[in-house]
Subunit: 186 residues, 2 copies
């Protein structure tokens, strides 16, 4: 199907703000009807999210991290994840973030999908992985502004809690969606 | 449980950038150990996402909108949604966005949950609704920079496609997660 009647063309892009996590650009884009409009776009490196699944005597559990989030100014209970380093593969970044934040290593790591955190205003991607066959090393390696509690939560509890405190991180819900689709054989 | 060892305190906030969709603030926050660090926070009005479910002869379908996204510079196939207007209730905003983008009205609208689009860097919330008992009015009411195709997609196709083009919008995957949790009776 031809989507030319929906497709815009970016014709100018200028940096307007920058910090260590993202930068903002003012852009000009040409609409399908030829008119020109301004948009603001947030650029950032790609991110990885890892869903670590533990087989325990009490059933399947997710390994999750509880941490303060400076945007929402709340505590948030999340899957491990973070920013890919320059030149790092997506899978290596996923394994590294899991190890640094939780002290657990994954023997098996499976890509569940790739999403745009917010394609309306952000240009980067988030890569979502499932991690299995986990081994505990006991060694977290946190950044100097990271204060993180690692917790093991039954899968049903996370599914039931998503969309309410402390399960308020939309990107974690999006990762859980890919996990559920994967589990259903989709 | 006491989470004081994870909790930060924001002590300063200054606007550094602003456009019609969001603004960026430079903030200073005090860590649990007393040290002070800088963070950048993106403020925006709250958003609503609506999952409209149609009962058709071909089974259950989602009503979705295909549109250009200026962050990802791709077409994206999404649930209807958008920015809440000042003073508007979340539910009214959800109903309005559904009607404007698709020309369909919902007799039933059910809140599925509330998420932070990205609590690490954004302060706003996204409110997720399920819309049922839909009636077609034939009247879309698009903004002057909106070019939107409305499509009816079988639910299984969306679930299977999420995480790949054109189903790349993470917030739509997060909404679908809440829909799946709701359907499972969680």
């Amino acid at each position: 199907m031809n989507h030319a009647h929906l497709t815009w063309k970016e014709i100018e892009k200028k940096q307007a703000y920058s910090c260590r996590v993202f930068s903002v650009h003012d852009t000009l884009s040409q609409a399908p009807d030829g008119s020109i409009k301004t948009f603001s776009v947030i650029d950032a490196p790609d991110w990885a999210i890892v869903i670590p699944v533990l087989e325990t005597e009490g059933g399947l559990k997710f390994l999750m991290v509880r941490q303060w989030r400076h945007g929402s100014r709340t505590l948030s209970l999340e899957f491990p994840g973070g920013v890919l380093e320059p030149g790092e593969s997506e899978e290596d970044g996923a394994r590294r973030e899991l190890a640094e934040e939780t002290g657990w290593l994954a023997a098996q790591i499976i890509k569940l999908g790739e999403l745009s955190p917010n394609p309306a205003i952000m240009s980067n991607r988030v890569h979502v992985y499932l991690a299995k066959d986990l081994t505990y090393t006991g060694k977290q390696d946190l950044d100097d502004d990271e204060y993180v509690d690692v917790e093991q939560i039954p899968i049903e509890e996370v599914l039931k809690g998503m969309g309410k405190e402390p399960y308020i991180h939309a990107l974690m819900a999006s990762a859980l969606c890919l996990y559920l689709a994967f589990g259903s054989g989709a």
